[in-house]
């Protein structure tokens, strides 16, 4: 390999070489790859977190259990697992807004949000969100948080996994959990974007 950053072709060849040797070692198989890909492309994603949020918005007792022990409350909905073994939910209010980051690598609550978007894993977000959070939210994500609202950034330095319970938008009285879940975006559970706008009906 050349010095510096390898090309896509160089990385692909290196990965295939390593894969061929791990296959011969009996450590992995092509059907294992297919199964993993199917899980993280089709089964485990932010639609699961959205379901939890919608239930918390609809059911005050569930919301209390979620804030008390997010891991157990998610299990009630059959949601659990790898990289979310120990989760805690951060509840946004009129006066406090939360966002999550992993400045040291890319820790993210996979069971509720799936695999992280690339910007979350890249240096720009990781370096700046702890230092100038309001500016990053406004300038990089177009998400204005008023100066009167405290911003709390949670840096996932341990195996605890944090994610955000956004506020339920006005104008959704009487909505079903399925309707509410449609409003919940991945970015709103990271804390870098709003939930979807409620269209006036």
């Amino acid at each position: 390999m050349s010095n510096g950053v390898p090309s896509q072709e160089e990385i692909a060849a290196r990965v295939k070489a390593l894969e061929s040797m791990l296959i011969e070692n009996g450590v992995m198989t092509t059907s294992m790859v297919d199964r993993i890909v199917d899980i993280y492309e089709n089964e485990v994603g932010p639609q699961l977190g959205a379901k939890v949020v919608a239930k918390a918005w609809s059911d005050p007792e569930y919301r209390a259990r979620l804030l008390d022990d997010a891991t157990e409350a998610c299990k009630e909905l059959g949601i659990s697992g790898l990289q979310g073994e120990d989760m805690r939910v951060l509840e946004d209010t009129d006066s406090v807004h939360h966002a999550i980051v992993c400045t040291l690598c890319s820790c993210y609550p996979w069971p509720v949000l799936g695999l992280p978007p690339n910007w979350y894993k890249e240096p720009q977000y990781r370096s700046r969100i702890v230092r100038e959070p309001r500016k990053v939210l406004a300038e990089d994500f177009g998400y204005d948080v008023p100066e009167s609202t405290e911003i709390r950034i949670w840096d996932s330095s341990s195996e605890m996994r944090y994610w955000v319970l956004p506020q339920r938008p006005a104008g959704t009285d009487g909505w079903t959990e399925d309707q509410l879940a449609e409003l919940v975006t991945r970015d709103s559970m990271i804390g870098v974007g709003p939930v979807k706008e409620v269209s006036a009906s």
């Binding site: 896509q8 295939k16 790859v33 993280y40 979310g84 073994e85 690339n118 890249e122």
Partner: protein, 237 residues
């Protein structure tokens, strides 16, 4: 270690590059690359902490610029070599071969029901890092603490931007695998974990910090000491 991966508070890296409708895997090679993490974890080549430390030892220029899963490749191949599972000369030879013949097939092999069952079991169950310990938790919510200002050479989760800083314990989570031992091949040696709240002004100084913000950072018991008498922190809960 004081590596470039420890990015919190670094300036000058540019705006966040947000891509709409990005696929989960952006290239075919990312799929087997991702799978190697649970596969090699199962094979015992590394634990999560030593896997992270493997990425931290990359060439810093490559770390900052390469596609994300190149970090995983670097760590996993080095751990597989260290475990004696992969011969580095053979890996180089095959890399040259696949570079010249990118469409050449992988070795013929039997599929394994056991590996599929492992995936189906581990994804929903996970692998918790919680471990029991006889050690007594020295701190509790409300305590004002200071992060010790030390710079270990090996793996640690003491980000530079919190070292020497004073904050308030807001939660005690129980005891977990200790990265400073586990990440350096020295065993799990569990320690209590806490979340500490730091006011932005404590981290960045008045005039530079957003006055109405704070950072919550998780520390293991040995990372912190009681702050000197009379220390206070802003915005304690």
């Amino acid at each position: 270690m004081n590596g470039v991966f420890d990015l919190g508070g670094t300036d000058g890296l540019g705006p966040v590059v947000v891509v709409d409708d990005e696929p989960v895997f952006r290239a075919e090679w990312e799929k087997p690359m991702f799978t190697m993490f649970p596969a090699c974890f199962r094979a015992g080549y590394f634990g999560v902490d030593s896997f992270r430390h493997g990425m931290e030892k990359m060439d810093p220029a490559v770390y900052l610029k390469a596609p994300y899963y190149e970090h995983w490749l670097y760590s996993i191949e080095n751990h597989a070599i260290a475990a004696g599972a992969i011969d580095p000369a053979e890996l180089d030879r095959r890399t040259e071969y696949y570079l010249a013949n990118p469409d050449a097939p992988l070795p013929e092999h039997e599929q394994s029901e056991e590996l599929i069952e492992f995936v189906n079991a581990v994804v929903p169950a996970g692998a918790t890092a919680i471990r029991e310990t006889d050690k007594v938790a020295r701190f509790r919510a409300g305590d004002v603490v200071t992060v010790t200002d030390v710079s270990p050479f090996g793996h640690t989760r003491r980000a530079r931007y919190v070292r020497g800083k004073t904050g308030t314990v807001v939660a005690h989570h129980g005891s977990f695998i200790y990265p400073d031992t586990a990440g350096n091949g020295l065993g799990e040696d569990p320690e209590h974990v806490y979340t500490v709240k730091f006011a932005a002004e404590e981290l960045w100084g008045a005039g530079y910090a957003d006055p109405n913000s704070s950072v919550y950072f998780d520390v293991w018991d040995p990372y912190i000491e009681f702050a000197p008498e009379g220390s206070t922190t802003e915005g304690a809960e």
